[in-house]
Symmetry: C2
Amino acid sequence: MSKILRINTREKTYSFETPAEDIAGLGGRALTSKMILNEVPATSHPLSKYSKLIFAPGLLSGSPAANSGRLSVGGKSPLTGGIKESNSGGLVSQKLARLGIKALVLEDKPEDDRFSMVVIKKDRVEFLAADEYVGVCNSDMITKLWDRFGKRVATASIGVAGEQRLTSASIQFADPKGHPGRAAGRGGLGAVMGSKKIKAIVVDDKGTDRVPLHDPDAFKAANKKWVELLTSHPVSGQGLPAYGTAILVNVINEAGALPTKNFRTGRFENAQDISGETMAANIEKRSGVATEGCHPGCVIKCSQVYNDKDNNYLTSGFEYETIWAFGAHCLIKELDDIAMLDRLCDDLGLDTIETGVTMGIAMEGGIIPWGDGKAAIELLKKVGTGDPMGKIIGNGAAFTGQALGIDRVPVVKRQALPAYDPRAVKAVGVTYATTPMGADHTAGYGVCQNILGVGGSIDPLKKDNNVAISKTLQIATAAIDAAGLCLFVAFPVLDNPEGLQMIVDMINARYGLSLVVDDVTTLGISILRDELEFNRRAGFTPKDDRLPDMFKEPFAPHNTTWDFTDEELAEAVKF
Amino acid sequence: MSKILRINTREKTYSFETPAEDIAGLGGRALTSKMILNEVPATSHPLSKYSKLIFAPGLLSGSPAANSGRLSVGGKSPLTGGIKESNSGGLVSQKLARLGIKALVLEDKPEDDRFSMVVIKKDRVEFLAADEYVGVCNSDMITKLWDRFGKRVATASIGVAGEQRLTSASIQFADPKGHPGRAAGRGGLGAVMGSKKIKAIVVDDKGTDRVPLHDPDAFKAANKKWVELLTSHPVSGQGLPAYGTAILVNVINEAGALPTKNFRTGRFENAQDISGETMAANIEKRSGVATEGCHPGCVIKCSQVYNDKDNNYLTSGFEYETIWAFGAHCLIKELDDIAMLDRLCDDLGLDTIETGVTMGIAMEGGIIPWGDGKAAIELLKKVGTGDPMGKIIGNGAAFTGQALGIDRVPVVKRQALPAYDPRAVKAVGVTYATTPMGADHTAGYGVCQNILGVGGSIDPLKKDNNVAISKTLQIATAAIDAAGLCLFVAFPVLDNPEGLQMIVDMINARYGLSLVVDDVTTLGISILRDELEFNRRAGFTPKDDRLPDMFKEPFAPHNTTWDFTDEELAEAVKF
């Protein structure tokens, strides 16, 4: 049976532990959220010795199941003050699973200021001094780690933002090509890792066997159907591979839901300049990579390598939300500037959504002009230099709003809203308001039914059914995150009910269980209940499940407002 | 009957209004808290157009009652996010009362960036452009206003901190000599005034009569006894006039309760250097003013003028808490450096407690060395210059802690703890934890019974009776604030039950009422209930009524810890 690996960052010791009964059957987000609820005092400071940081592969991670290599990183968020599960691709999840590690838990914190790194191998765990790596950016860090430990190891590292415990700090993961384009971005968990003075984690699964499958034939049969399902759906099989998530720029702009100039209107006149189509054309012209997976076994391959005009690497994992945050939100129309901002975030170790929204707040406050990509690049480069403006920017939108005395700041639970206006995509607005994660589109992606016509169709401009669909999606997402599956499997699964059965079949074949589809819903609900309970203990109330007053303004072109009542939103957190 | 003066800061209009029945009998903090509860949506942003800022004289303000010239300033705090009453001396309270203005309410906010000032006269209210005053420090501001409007006017103004809407910003009031040493300091209400683009308020009572007294003889008789009571008590009649509040440096140090180096120990080896006795000796040597009142009619006179070595004005209203915050907390032992820091706070318009505690956090984060007064002065001068470090410092301790990634930050409800360690003065610790104001010693000054032996004696190191005494004091304080009386009247009143009767007699004689002493308690409870209700609506929970984890550490020399249970603290907010 898989073990819990506990690492005491103060004592530099580790221990393996058989999981207690209540967590033995859990993986991914189900496991991180349950352990955080059980083990972290909800009112403790997220950067204190009482705080913990947990990395957990999903239930299917490490198996041959397509798109099952996602990792859950859990903790108390220094950004929101609530529970956080931040989900990433990369190689760590599968390698931890192969090492038989169900969860890696960083505990306590050192009393001195010296950084270490943790190297996890089949037969031992090592603590190595990391002083020489302090200040090293994530892309160089991966290069150095691969040079030192070989190119087969998985890495998780923090940049200067995490070292300085800035609350937008991410944890970045090497993708299969060794680019730091994969991130546990949201919620500032990089600052928690920084507070524990862990610069990097290296996971080396050399010498391990494949993960055991209880019924290999049944697994193989289910996975075959699963791959067919994923590759035959128009979104996961065609749209995402062709244009990445940036396909949404034109889609959401057309829908009048692309928040522009700090959520003032829903259409950006330069949307075409920053669209997925433009990105794809540039990639082709510049010898980039149009489509690749964020982890081995991915059949959707929405990632890419985006080169500059001279065909040199600029960034990878160049997502719609990043392009929106620095683009339409800030009125920046030069895609290459946005790509540079994305790259800087990856290297400094910052969440791109939080940082992009923050950049718009800096523009709102007159620090740099609206639409000035070059100025944004220079401003972002201040992070980690010791310049106090870097400390402000690196602490996110709510913080920067307070620094500049601005009351127009789009956050829920102090986390910045992503790339879909809640007045024009109301199901996702309900998710922003009510998920225990703080404003987060991935927690219940109502864009499916509101805009994409996936899983049915619900009017995005009216309230009707949008609370219900957000809840359904929040439950399904929590379960997907527990399985270690990529969220984008939801597109085909929403359109084909047999998809859920395939997931259950794979889990059953992997572990020798006899789960049924209803158990998926039960699991999702149970995860959300744990997370809501943690937040309740931390002092959150229904008042925190609200959008700020700025969303009372009518939003062009549809001129809808955010009009959910307290009672309707209260319904959205009843699980 | 007195009126409400409402000022719309966007439209630049004003109106007088007869108070509604539920507020007609209220004054001071009772009035500001009730109106904020009634009129400001609790979840609105404190710097938004939905926010209001209310100035209210107490029930006895403007009358000849000794020490009755205190002003309540109320709003939603941008520092804590909760309700705030910040109380100050100066001249505004008495002049508003003489003008028959029960409350002055600043509403809405301008859409442009131009500052105005409001001039209130007997027959009209004027809006004047204040562009020329932007960036002017509070002492120069008072000089300019007195030059322009005469030395009889009262002033309230903000410095650059308020203009920039920093959340430690104060509102400063001219004292009778024209120094800006009086402040509505705590909770950042200067930022609210700044958000409404009001640089200053001038109150000119020329041409008004004395406030009417329903029964002049009865009033005179009660006030005579009242003056005798105040002047005959050892604290209000001798200690405070002789040494100001700084008399407490040695007292609290001796008690082992002087928080030193960010609340690490209770004794400061250089306490004598920063003591009230040293201050008094310097004042005498340097031709300062040893004792003066913060408003006409004060018979306690705890204020002073503190000159530099060359006998030039350095600061005034040089309080114990300020000396502690920049002194023992930061390990600064040069009293003149601390006086300069106090002066800078008055001029920039910053709360000295919040800013002093913040300075210690900057030292904790390595920005400047511990104990370096000159470096602290230079750091403080950055506020308002545009230097982003000034924006960090000016936003207080919790904010600076986040900027620097520090988890050892002494705040409750994001407001910095004042000058009495909660582990060694447990009654004031209960007040810090539970008052709706955020950590605030004035809200229930348990130092009386814990240390000074005023109003009885309760062991400061044990829990016994300290919840009960904090509650009693919170009730009494709220009522005193509603009357417009100086908090220091509590010393004699706690030791002589007839004091309360004298207050009631004066209120009755002023208004023709027939209140009894029990009505004082009823009023105090009613104020606290209003404030707790606002905070509840704003999303506060019992989790916010707690001290941070750092107070679990044993505190030398007594090695006590903060050990109240959740249940005990829950009791403290039951009114």
